[in-house]
Subunit: 410 residues, 4 copies
């Protein structure tokens, strides 16, 4: 247990069994007032039951905070990250990572409002989420006390947890009695699963683990074509219909789900030092990633595009490791955002049985110049003879190296 | 025309109409002896007709060089590049780029053997290939004279080319009379198409452009499962059958073709400064890319993996731009190869309607430790309380920043 | 000679012999109207003689543009670059490189104003400056015609140049009759010398080449102490006296000169592909570099500082190669500028016989926290035990690697 | 105190008061057998007194290990690092950081030999050295128990330490009774000082803190010229005299000391998260750094040099943070070493009053080609007209961007 005395704590509360146990444990262990914060980030659950449960567990009505964060989440977190084409370890679209800073920020805002001196979360002691939550807390309120029950308590088995719940009159849903075969995190960007049945990386993910996408084999036998419109790097319309950020992502999720898009079976490297195997479903995000690269391909200059590509792994690593509220992430974001001024236009995509295929892109700001690339010589400002000089000077240092080798008889 | 007098030139000769015209043009324009070099890189064409055609065009038998380079190509060029997970602009597997240095190297070797003072190629003045060929030539023989007919001659239209062919008794196949609707480059790694019908990036690639893969919609309705074995970063067996590099890649091409895998419609940035739109088919390479990342995911340490990811864009750019024979590419290769010592094991893949899905990986050198990640506390060397310290010290600088903000009332 | 017809050309005109010859050559070769642009960038020469000379050579008064750019140069070019701590190849403070884009920009502005269709400069065909000028021209006016006389004319020896001057009534100063023992470029940031007596990199630079600094051996035997105040990354005062950018840099130059500071003897790699040996004097800039790093050391967070350090070589290369007006330089600048918000405070420096030594730094925004680093345990938020966890988790992947080795008996 | 039972521990033992206290504390607290390891890394102290003291404190003769590591230290740690031109935060030559991995390695070797299950060091809980030692231990012996007394005991003040010493019959030198005004670490590469009188970064370092260099003002009034010969990136001779690695570095230290070279007053960012202020003296290393860059400047190709420069900050950070025995440091080393094959030749340096000035460099492998850079057109393979094409194609994308702006009326 943390050494510090705590008077009031803001808990990230889902309304589920685990965070209800934490709620009770905080009350009994720290003897402090508990404030609950429940957010809708598009995880697909009702919020009102969380309020009822909090009341039942003795939380004062004024200490229950419930907020729909879907638009803020997509607009201020998901979209900025997609401007960077961020993929952790070449594949993972960071669906869990990107939600944590927003929750942390809201908890701290509530803490400031209600005069709480502590915050608590339900992440375990082996994962990345504890890091992401806590780096967020500390970056926004340096003197806050952080309580991470999973690292502190002695409820180290399922049996002990259920005993504690029973002793404390916490309702236990029937299907929570047994061990869950895997654990899930979900929001509007993705659902992730890990643990238990997924722990052997040699074994294929069982079909029942997927929840956000249908099996590609069950997807329609004919492709679905869609268009996405972008403005300054962000998507603004699907099939010509303007939508708010969250609505748009939900729409892409729906399209992705129906076509079996966005499944990822990954062994990744956690910030805390071990490898873990996870299964991710990011239907809308997978479509968005392909679409954004597509619109960039005609509107971004090579210098800008390559600089972004070189810095992307670092950006993704920062998000993954929980450094959203760090100067270096903000500096990289400034660099990325600077590049997006003309990333405006439309892409056309073909969705088919798990695949997203870019089939067309168009923009009033296109840098693609048909005249420059035609084989027939045109009126354009490209002189074939320039290429000779270009190559000659690029080769100069290589020739000097070769002359050295020759001189040395190598 | 190049100022230098030329006595003997080694021409990269395919046996097709264009390089036959070049052959004749070199003879008539430079009055020099022409040596032809025709290589089998797996482009899927017979080489003997090239010999016949060269003889017909007056090349002396001892000046005709024909070589099967498939194994060398895959072993010494394709595989080292795949160890780096190289993708240009996030998507392109560099199928054309990687073949050019080998052809350049062979031309120079022949030039040294026959005492030629010049080399020539059939790449146009607007593309990347002229750069790749010539940087290769210069890096290996700094005093060589390079002849790039497409940059020099006045045969600037199809009509003029055909006229020249007729005047010089060069046989013209019937189907070469008209304009080709697109141009193709092919080798064992890929086929690429560009030009004409592909020039509007808003329009979908017509189906008849594809040659290496069947349409995903026409692919089998049930998935194909395969395994690939790796040793030190290179694939060595498919479905348990050991194969030579070229045989293995051909096998993966076959599997990819049948499942519609590896189609890419891309607008890319050429080294010479303009954007171009190309269509690539890399069936086996696409499978190999996913497989290699998969085996790395359990055998490579995070530090090694992230360093590779950060440097990959630079490596890919070097290959794309033609700097294969440069110190910096060789330095990066040394770094990459250093990391592959234990990249040994087996991956299992599911191929389905255009998609390659990693479904399992296993290795005697796996760094994935099931005990480290289980939720239940085990006997392993992971203490939850360590995480608290880890987070605290990672947060220290962020807290200091936050304290500054606070002090300043920001 | 450029193929294009030219009606009016804006020439970067120094008033010296070489650009006067160019002026005349443009008139006679292109038969076009010549507009001269002469700028004061702090090179230390009067501008009025350039006006008189232009008039003498037949330039219409309304076609003579003379501008004092010193403040703009330092404020908008030098200072932004120093925010990035830019050093090319680890040592060169880019004094020549940074002046070229501004001159190019002004020439283009004048071209737009007077309706000129061409610009011309006096840089040679082997150096970097031609690239820097011309990339600037093209980036700002894509359809401009560029004339680079040194690449076009046949005045390929000193003798021919002097003959041309005499034939065209161009006055020749007595000391210009012979060959200059080296060539010089100068502005408020630096003076550089190269060529002739400097061409053997094994030989020490002769003392008479230096013009901006006294010999360290001749410098005062006692150190000079100064302070520099910074605001948001830019210097604003020396020894407590507020100064405009150009005045401040001039003041630092004076201090640097007197103490023999800022001499650099360098073999560098030119963008055009060869190595060259140059001698640079950057007295004020050398002081500023040390000072800026000093104030950053207490006001910048580690994450920000390290990101800047990693990207600095790329930034410096872009400036050196002439890509000031490129999206990627602007993106990096956005990143750098984002970091400078709190780079405010004062540093104290000791100047002595060629050396600049940082001896103190102070800031209201300091992140240096004396309590955090004292050996005695204080009230501060640092718990020694956190370090154990921090190390343990950082070590986890290394231990896993070591276990693999052990298991394999390696 | 560490939870684990410990039977035998290998202590990094200097023979000084602090590690003697640790020795005793380990015996009394853990009740375990203590093995001492004392190394000569060139810190400038006799080793025999350490043996006597260990015996006095009850260590069995066979448990006392004393080793002269100077040659191994310089050859296998210092020189490889200097091949990379490593400077942490742009300035610090990593003198302390680079010694820690070697000590850790030797402790582990001894532990394996004597069958010890634990290792211990005398680094405090706030510094970087604890991290460097322990990452080394864990990387080489994953199951070792690490004891870090400064993080564990309650001897949290000078008074308590002295009391403990007296109670345990540990001899206390007279000058150790009071508080040291600063703490020192030293080896053949450098001496560093921090703490107490240095803690206010606004105050100049007092002269009495320096131990390895004389005050530049007291240095000779005439410069000292020396030459250094390199072979494959490593120095092998000074003034023409071949020397072993340690002898050579000692020689450079002597030259540096006499000329007041290598003092550095720095505020740096520790890995554990806070800023600290240190004073470093690296006389020989400072000379070596300048010399190595000098020989590289004529023997390394631009591509190789720039790649090294871009990766240097990462390399330096790894060494600083203690990741010497990590795959990523080894990968970077492979890259660096690959580049050094021809870094052979001689440089000439001028040492004067704190400054190291490169005044000449020469090499049989020089890539500097005088003919390529002369202003007069020579017979060499550089055609001025190539520059036009080179610039044109480099400008192409910038012109396309400018055309877009124009079209948009921006």
């Amino acid at each position: 247990m943390s050494d510090k005395r705590v008077k009031k704590v803001v808990l990230a509360y889902s309304g589920g069994l685990d965070t209800s146990i934490i709620l009770k444990w905080l009350q009994t262990t720290y003897g402090c007032e508990v404030v609950t914060f429940t957010a809708d980030l598009g995880q697909g659950e009702e919020l009102e039951p969380a309020r009822q449960k909090a009341l039942l567990l003795g939380i004062k009505p004024e200490n229950i905070f419930i907020e729909d964060l879907r638009e803020e989440f997509v607009r201020d977190y998901v979209f900025p990250m997609f401007r960077a084409n961020a993929q952790y370890e070449g594949l993972y679209l960071l669906g869990t990572s990107i939600a944590r800073p927003l929750i942390a920020k809201k908890q701290i805002e509530i803490a400031e409002k209600v005069g709480a001196d502590a915050v608590a979360h339900g992440a375990t002691g082996k994962g990345n989420d504890q890091v992401r939550f806590e780096l967020g807390y500390y970056a926004l309120k340096p003197d806050v006390t952080v309580i991470a029950p999973w690292r502190e308590w002695d409820l180290t088995s399922r049996t002990k947890l259920l005993e504690f719940a029973e002793q404390n009159q916490i309702p236990i849903a029937k299907d929570k009695r047994g061990e869950a075969p895997f654990s899930v995190d979900a929001n509007l960007l993705h659902a992730s699963s890990e643990g238990k049945v997924l722990e052997d990386p040699a074994q294929e993910v069982p079909d029942y683990v997927y929840s956000r996408t249908i099996d590609p084999e069950a997807a329609p036998d004919t492709p679905t074509y869609i268009t996405i419109d972008f403005e300054k790097g962000d998507p603004v319309a699907v099939d010509g219909v303007k939508m708010s950020p969250a609505t748009l992502l939900a729409k892409l999720n729906e399209l992705g789900r129906a076509n079996g898009i966005g499944r990822l079976d990954l062994v990744e490297n956690r910030f805390v030092g071990m490898k873990s195997r996870g299964m991710y479903e990011t239907p809308g995000g997978t479509i968005l990633y392909v679409a954004h690269r597509g619109i960039e391909s005609i509107t971004l200059d090579r210098g800008a595009a390559h600089l972004k590509d070189e810095l992307m792994p670092k950006y993704a690593e920062l998000v993954y490791n929980g450094f959203w509220f760090s100067p270096e992430r903000e500096m990289l974001q400034a660099l990325v955002d600077k590049s997006q001024e003309f990333v405006t236009g439309q892409v056309r995509l073909k969705l088919y049985k798990g695949g997203v295929h870019l089939v067309g892109r168009d923009s009033p700001y296109s840098l693609y110049d048909q005249e420059l690339v035609t084989f027939e010589e045109g009126a354009v400002a490209y002189d074939h003879r320039d290429a000779a000089g270009f190559i000659k000077l690029n080769a100069l240092r290589l020739r000097t190296l070769a002359q050295r080798k020759k001189k040395l008889g190598l």
